[in-house]
C-alpha cells in the first residue's frame, strides 16, 4: 500500500478483489468449522470485484453502470468501508456518506424525527450537531407534520425523502449513492439532483450506481462500466453510455457508435 496522502474527496482503489460465497443461509455452521471446510454442495463463490483499480479525484462525478450482478453495489460497499477486501487496497479520504438503501436501519415504530437522530448518529454525529441541522432536514424532506408519525405508515416515496434529506445534510466529502434517486416523484428527484450537483460544485466527490442511463448522463462526467466484477470501460460519459448500451444489446440507432 502506498503511503501518499490523499486529498479530501479522493478515492484510490487498487487491484481490489472480493469474492462472496453464495448460500441460502449466510452463516456457517459449527459442523463445517469442525470438519474444517465448507459443504461442497453449494454454488461456487462469486467474484464480485475481480482486480478492480480506480482513482477518483476530488470533485469528480462518476457513474458506475453495468448489468445486474456486475459488482456495482459491491464496489460501493467496499468504498464505504462496509465490506473488507480479500486483496488489494481501498483508500478514501474525508467524510464518506453513503445512501445504499433507502430507510436502512429506520426503526419502523419510531417517528421520522426520531429516525433522523438515529441515522445521523450512525454517521457519527453528536446530539448538538444533529439539533443544529434537524430543522433543515425536516424542511428538505417536505414531510410536514408526518415527521412526527411512525415511519411504518410512510409510503416508499416518503422513505426516500427522509433518507435523502438526512444524507444531504451530512457534509459529505464523498457521496455514495446506490439507485436511490430513482424513487420519489419527479419534483423531489430534481431537487435531489440539484442538491447533489451543488455539493459537487463545492468540491464533493459523487459516485453513483444506477441503471437509469438518463440520470447518469445528467449527473456524471465519467462512466465506469463493470462486467463480471471487472472494469470494461472507464472514461467520459459521452463514449461510456454508447459502450454500455452496446454491451447490454440495447443500442438504439441514435446512440449506437457510428
Amino acid at each position: 500500500m502506498s503511503s501518499e496522502t490523499l486529498r479530501p474527496g479522493e478515492i484510490v482503489l487498487e487491484r481490489a478483489v472480493r469474492t462472496f460465497t453464495v448460500r441460502a443461509d449466510r452463516g456457517r455452521t459449527l459442523k463445517e468449522l469442525m470438519i474444517g471446510r465448507r459443504d461442497p454442495d453449494g454454488p461456487p463463490p462469486v467474484k464480485a470485484l475481480n482486480d478492480v483499480s480506480l482513482r477518483i479525484e476530488p470533485g469528480e462525478t462518476v457513474g458506475i453502470i453495468g448489468r445486474n450482478g456486475a459488482g456495482k453495489s459491491s464496489t460501493l460497499r467496499v468504498l464505504a468501508g462496509i465490506i473488507p477486501l480479500q486483496s488489494g487496497s481501498v483508500r478514501c479520504e474525508g467524510r464518506i456518506v453513503s445512501l445504499l438503501e433507502v430507510g436502512a436501519g429506520f426503526g419502523r415504530d419510531f417517528s421520522g424525527r426520531e429516525n433522523i437522530f438515529l441515522s445521523c448518529a450512525l454517521h457519527g454525529l453528536g446530539r448538538t450537531e444533529i439539533e443544529d441541522r434537524i430543522d433543515a432536514i425536516i424542511e428538505f424532506s417536505e414531510l410536514g407534520h408526518f415527521i412526527d408519525v411512525p415511519v411504518r405508515t410512510y409510503s416508499s416515496g416518503m422513505f426516500v425523502r427522509l433518507g435523502f434529506a438526512i444524507t444531504a445534510h451530512l457534509d459529505a466529502d464523498i457521496l455514495l449513492l446506490d439507485e436511490v434517486l430513482a424513487v420519489g416523484d419527479e419534483a423531489f428527484q430534481l431537487k435531489c439532483e440539484r442538491h447533489v450537483m451543488a455539493k459537487v460544485h463545492d468540491g464533493a466527490t459523487l459516485v453513483l450506481v444506477s441503471h437509469d442511463a438518463d440520470l447518469v448522463e445528467r449527473t456524471c462526467e465519467r462512466i465506469v462500466v463493470l462486467d463480471g466484477g471487472a472494469v470494461v470501460f472507464d472514461g467520459p460519459a459521452a463514449t461510456g453510455l454508447p459502450f454500455y448500451h452496446e454491451l447490454m444489446g440495447t443500442a438504439t440507432p441514435a446512440e449506437a457508435i457510428p
Binding site: 456457517r28 459449527l30 462496509i82 445504499l100 436502512a104 415504530d109 437522530f117 454517521h123 454525529l125
Partner: protein
C-alpha cells in the same frame, strides 16, 4: 488509538440505541419496568414455597425469600445480557449491512439495556432490604462498584457470544441450553456450603464458589446488599480480574472477527 476515536465519535449512536430499545420495550405497556420485576418475583415465590414448606428448609438462611430474590435478579441480568446480545447483530442486520460504525455498539447497547433494568430493580429492592433488616449497612455504598464489574464481565461474554453467533448460527441455542444447568450450579437459591454433601466433601464448596466464574459476581452483590458486609479481598480480586480478563479477551476476539460481519449477517 483510531479505534478509540471511532468509539468516541459514535458515543451518541450508543446512547440512541440504548434509548431506542428501552422505549421500544415500554411502548404500550402501562407498568413499564415493573414488568421486569414480575418474573424474578414469581421465581422467588416459587423457590420460597418449595424450600420452606415443601422441602422443610434444607438451606438455613434468614429472610430466605429476599436472599433468593437478590440472587435471581443478578443472575437474570447476566442471562438476559448474554441471550439478547447473542442475536443482536442479526437483529440489527440492516444497520450492519448498510452503514459503517463500531459494531461493538450493538451488543454493548443490548447489555446496557439489561443493566438499566437491573439497576432499576435494585433500586426497588433497596427499600425492601431496609424494611426487612431494619437498617442498611454502609457496605451498600460498594454496590455500584460490584454492579460495574458484573456489567464488564457480562459485556465481555456478550461480545464473544454475539460475534460467534453471527458466524455460526448454532451458538445462541447452545448458550440457551448451557445457561439453564448453569443457573442450578450457581449458588443462587442456596449458599455454596449448603450444597448437598458439602459438609462431608470439602472440595465442593470451593469448587462451587470459584470454578464457576459467575458465582463470585452473584455472591459479591448479595454480600453487600443482603448481608451488609465486605465480600472479602479474595472475591473482590477475583471479580476485578475476571472482568478485566473477560472484557479484554471478548473485545479482542470481537475486533478480530468483526470485519466480515456485513457479509455474514
Amino acid at each position: 488509538m483510531s479505534t478509540l476515536r471511532e468509539f468516541a465519535r459514535h458515543r451518541y449512536l450508543f446512547d440512541q440505541m440504548v434509548r431506542r430499545e428501552l422505549r421500544q420495550k415500554y411502548k404500550g405497556s402501562a407498568l413499564g419496568v415493573v414488568w421486569y420485576l414480575v418474573n424474578p418475583l414469581v421465581l422467588m415465590f416459587a423457590y420460597s414455597v418449595m424450600f420452606t414448606y415443601v422441602l422443610h428448609r434444607p438451606f438455613q438462611v434468614h429472610d430466605y425469600a429476599l436472599f433468593v430474590l437478590l440472587g435471581i435478579v443478578t443472575w437474570t441480568f447476566f442471562q438476559n445480557a448474554v441471550t439478547t446480545a447473542a442475536t443482536s447483530l442479526l437483529d440489527q442486520g440492516a444497520l450492519v449491512r448498510k452503514a459503517v460504525f463500531p459494531r461493538e455498539t450493538i451488543p454493548a447497547a443490548t447489555v446496557t439495556v439489561q443493566l438499566v433494568i437491573f439497576v432499576s430493580i435494585l433500586v426497588l429492592i433497596g427499600p425492601i432490604v431496609f424494611v426487612v433488616h431494619g437498617s442498611l449497612s454502609v457496605w451498600i455504598l460498594l454496590l455500584p462498584f460490584y454492579v460495574a464489574l458484573i456489567y464488564a464481565f457480562a459485556l465481555g461474554v456478550a461480545l464473544v457470544v454475539a460475534v460467534l453467533h453471527a458466524y455460526f448460527r448454532d451458538v445462541a441455542p447452545i448458550v440457551g441450553a448451557v445457561l439453564l444447568p448453569w443457573f442450578f450450579i450457581t449458588p443462587i437459591f442456596y449458599r455454596a456450603q449448603q450444597f448437598p454433601g458439602a459438609t462431608h466433601h470439602h472440595w465442593i464448596e470451593p469448587l462451587l464458589r470459584w470454578a464457576n466464574p459467575v458465582a463470585p459476581y452473584v455472591d459479591s452483590i448479595r454480600e453487600v446488599v443482603f448481608y451488609g458486609q465486605w465480600p472479602g479481598a479474595a472475591e473482590t480480586a477475583y471479580v476485578i480480574g475476571g472482568a478485566v480478563l473477560v472484557l479484554g479477551v471478548g473485545g479482542l476476539l470481537f475486533r478480530r472477527m468483526a470485519g466480515e460481519l456485513a457479509v455474514v449477517v
